[in-house]
């Protein structure tokens, strides 16, 4: 009963067992694995992710909304999306580890930096995509800039904004996996300490990371659809404008 | 430019009970269309939107497949060949032209030639010929569609369709996207081209005036893809076959007929040209013989000066005593509708028609025009005839 297929299943089987049941560590002497420990890692993982996402959103979305309203952010949006994609998360994290040190602040800082570009780009593009005639009409009826943003541009740009949130969320959750390099014990901990957790531990943690990230992606996808007004959903592709820089998700970097 | 009028490669086209039915639709888009287009003629398909005119046209090159019935090109069913092959032998011009932006003008024009495997030198020569034909400079060949104006692109579209010298051409609102001023120019240029090339053309438009101007024969389609009438323009205007055709052509169809005619083509009334100093008895006799009961004073060369009053004929000899001026002087070569417009804008009952030298040629009046409109035409004039003089 050997052969790669069963071995494959065997490894996965063991990994899943690792998630739920405690066992002795590879190096001996310590209990590893089991649900409590995994949940602990997951909690840390989600904590840094959520905090980072919230901060990034609070910073990036209002800024991009305003830039989009003014129509002045083309260069900023393209530049941040290009730079944001090109900087490897590992490099960024290591950079901050070497210059700032270890710990939660550092990690959250890095995650915020990674989350900002997709938020800026997508929000900006989302606002620019709002029909100019609609905005004109609103202005003609006497709405101030802020009112226009609040009542017209923001609601109509929500799908794009949520698209950006989706991308950023996935990026952040994925990158949080390598946070243990900075001594923050997220689900990446088993992955970077094979001497304790063994390959089984690495695999188990990977499975959890994959599942959680997919879940986050799914949830935000649903949210995005939920905020899309029925009218826009029915619009044919031909009516949606084309844009100079890509509006699609830049993937998570971890 | 080489004379092509005798080198006509055109073939006749026949719709035979051609029908197009879309699945799930209650009525057919084109219903049993039957008509024959003689080789070398322009058949215009015209009608309100939804009447199936574009669908019918696209059945010829099988961009829409025929549900039942047939279409014969030069006697051969279009269903005979594979669609791609068929289309390479049919010129195709559409409203938004559809030039390929990533190809030069030369490459665009040579589209079908390349598909047919012509060699490069032959293609180059043909492209040069065609650019000349559509009056564009030879260096246009290396430019890109984005660099040309709408009117120029339209002409390139026509050149592309003509490249392989196809026996039939299909044109779907080809001038629809052009502004009215350039549209008229392009229409005239096209008619001149057609006079040389004499292609068999199916031309779709929603504009009855364009149909009347461009067509040798007009097929009016009504909703449901039915043929309402198929006739030359003059016949259509004089004898509309149904209420629908009457309405579609417009209540001003009499005026539309006048747009197809020149003043010289109709029977004008005569007037007596009288010079100063002529014996009044002679003058009166002349006036008796002419159609118009008033004398027209002319100078030594026969150019009208004005209409004579009674006092002018009071004495022994005719004096220059005018009741009204000769103006407006109508041009013998003018389009009849324009001449009528001039007549209507003045207060005179009789309009003096003069030739290119200014000499009296006849008299035009409302009654003359009415008389013409009620008589059956000797020949069927078309918009093309007006251009080719």
């Amino acid at each position: 009963m050997t052969g790669p297929a069963l071995a494959f299943l065997g490894d996965f089987g063991e990994a899943i067992e690792f998630i739920f049941k405690e066992r002795e560590s590879v190096s001996g002497g310590v209990q590893i694995g089991g649900l409590p420990e995994m949940l602990g890692f997951t909690a840390t993982h989600m904590y840094v992710s959520i905090v980072a996402l919230v901060i990034a959103a609070a910073l990036a979305i209002p800024l991009a909304l305003w830039l989009g309203h003014l129509g002045r952010g083309d260069f900023v949006a393209t530049a941040t999306s290009n730079v944001g994609r090109a900087v490897p998360s590992l490099a960024l994290l290591a950079f901050f580890i070497s210059f700032v040190g270890l710990g939660y602040t550092n990690v959250i800082f890095v995650l915020v930096l990674l989350a900002i570009p997709p938020l800026i780009t997508n929000t900006y593009v989302g606002v620019r995509q709002v029909d100019r005639d609609t905005v004109d009409a609103a202005r003609g009826q006497g709405m101030t800039g802020i009112e226009i943003v609040r009542k017209i541009e923001l609601p109509l740009a929500l799908p794009a904004i949520f698209g950006g949130l989706r991308t950023s969320a996935v990026n952040v959750v994925a990158t949080a996996t390598i946070a243990p390099l900075a001594n923050v014990q997220t689900l990446g901990e088993p992955i970077i300490t094979p001497q304790t957790y063994g390959f089984v531990g690495q695999l188990g943690a990977s499975i959890l990371v994959a599942v959680i990230t997919l879940l986050v992606d799914f949830i935000f996808a649903r949210l995005q659809r939920a905020v899309t007004p029925a009218g826009l959903k029915l619009a044919s592709p031909a009516r949606r404008r084309r844009f100079p820089f890509p509006t699609r998700r830049s993937p998570k970097s971890a | 430019m080489p004379d092509r009028s005798d080198r006509s490669t055109a073939e006749p086209l026949e719709f035979r009970e051609a029908t197009k039915r879309y699945p799930g639709a209650a009525t057919p888009a084109v219903d049993g269309l039957s008509l024959e287009v003689p080789a070398g003629e322009i058949c215009v398909l015209v009608g309100p939107s939804g009447c199936g005119k574009t669908t019918a046209m696209r059945m010829v090159n099988r961009m829409n497949e025929i549900t039942s019935g047939d279409i014969l090109l030069g006697g051969r069913s279009v269903k005979d060949r594979r669609p791609a092959e068929l289309r390479r032998e049919i010129g195709y011009v559409i409203q938004h032209i559809g030039l390929f932006p990533h190809w030069t003008i030369g490459e665009n024009i040579a589209t079908v030639l390349k598909l047919q495997g012509w060699d490069k030198p032959r293609i180059a020569k043909r492209v040069e010929e065609l650019l000349d034909l559509i009056s564009l400079p030879p260096d246009t060949r290396d430019r890109y569609p984005s660099q040309l104006s709408g009117g120029q692109r339209q002409r390139v579209g026509v050149a592309r369709a003509l490249a392989a010298d196809p026996p039939v051409m299909l044109m779907d609102e080809p001038f629809g996207a052009i502004d009215p001023i350039n549209r008229e120019r392009l229409q005239n240029e096209f008619l001149r081209l057609q006079a040389e090339l004499r292609k068999t053309i199916v031309f779709v438009t929603h504009d009855i005036d364009e149909a009347i101007k461009m067509g040798d024969r007009i097929a009016i389609l009504q909703e449901g893809g039915k043929l309402a009438q198929y006739a030359p323009p003059a016949e259509l205007l004089m004898y509309p076959a149904s209420r629908f055709v009457e309405d579609f052509v417009g209540s001003d169809r009499a005026l539309k007929r006048l747009a197809l005619q020149r003043v010289r083509d109709i029977d004008l009334w005569t007037a007596a040209p009288i010079r100063v100093g002529t014996p009044t008895s002679e003058a009166r006799a002349k006036i008796e013989e002419s159609d118009v009961p008033i004398g027209l004073l002319v100078d030594e060369s026969g150019r009208p000066q004005g209409w004579l009053s009674e006092r002018a004929l009071a004495g022994e000899r005719v004096t220059k005593d005018l009741r009204s001026p000769a103006e407006p002087l109508l041009d013998l070569d003018a389009v009849l509708r324009d001449a009528l417009a001039q007549l209507l804008s003045s207060e005179t009952r009789y309009g003096a028609v003069v030739d290119s030298k200014g000499t009296l040629a006849g008299i035009l009046s409302l009654e003359v025009i009415q008389h013409f409109l009620h008589a059956a035409p000797a020949a069927s004039p078309t918009g093309a005839d007006l251009l080719i003089e």
Binding site: F96, F99, L214, F245, P246 | -
Partner: protein
């Protein structure tokens, strides 16, 4: 953005005393110059880890896009499946693949290829869909077969979008390739991990990655310009 930490942590040392610089973990230009050689191999590995996955991903995506162009209904499922590959974090993927492909370049390649699929596929498909209907109509009307229309008209016209997709995929892959070390492959990521606390090392390795991404970006942009002379021509 990065101002404050740099101001705090940067201690640029003057030359003469390289050992001191290293010992106190400053930013040491002399050390960099001396040790630049050790980055060469990782850089080459990184190039390989970027170019190969993008090339393979492009081939796959193009094939998929051409199939989905005729059978529109396939687009949804393809995007769904590639989307799942896309959402799984690379680190996790590197491990999930190991039971099947083992430790090393194969694992890294499989994972990196799967990330490029969604991006490139979506861009090619969008590019093809954006060809105006009348251009397609004219092409068919001139007598091109569907195949000829695709290869002579639609794909050439979609080049800008395809190139945009390649640029995104390439920059992304540069970033992800840094993590290939977890799959047992090399690349600049492994250099970073060798000494993640040493500033000079991190800056050089990370900086090289960013420069690499920028270089690829410009190259692809250059190729795009070459391939689309008609976009530069203006009346």
């Amino acid at each position: 953005m990065i101002g404050l930490p740099i101001a705090q942590g940067l201690q640029i040392q003057k030359p003469g005393g390289a050992d001191d610089c290293v010992a106190s973990n400053g930013f040491c230009p002399e050390w960099i110059v001396d040790n630049i050689d050790r980055y060469w191999t990782p850089l080459l590995e990184h190039v390989y880890l970027t170019v190969a996955p993008v090339a393979i991903g492009f081939a796959f995506s193009l094939a998929l896009a051409i199939v989905a162009h005729r059978r529109r209904w396939l687009t949804g499922p393809i995007i769904g499946i590639t989307g799942i590959f896309f959402a799984i974090p690379s680190v996790a993927a590197f491990f999930l693949l190991q039971p099947i492909t083992g430790l090393g370049y194969t694992t890294a390649m499989v994972a990196l290829v799967s990330y490029t699929l969604l991006i490139i596929f979506r861009n090619i498909t969008d590019g093809l869909r954006n060809v105006p209907a009348e251009t397609r109509d004219a092409a068919l009307g001139q007598g091109m077969t569907e195949r000829q229309v695709l290869y002579r008209v639609e794909l050439p016209m979609a080049v800008p979008e395809i190139m945009a997709g390649l640029r995104i995929a390439t920059s992304t892959t540069v970033g992800l390739a840094a993590l290939a070390v977890f799959a047992g492959a090399g690349g600049l990521g492994s250099e970073i991990l060798v000494d993640k606390r040493f500033k000079s090392n991190v800056v050089v390795a990370g900086g090289l990655a960013v420069l690499l991404a920028a270089a690829f970006d410009l190259m692809i942009l250059g190729v795009q310009r070459l391939m689309t002379p008609w976009r530069r021509a203006r009346a």
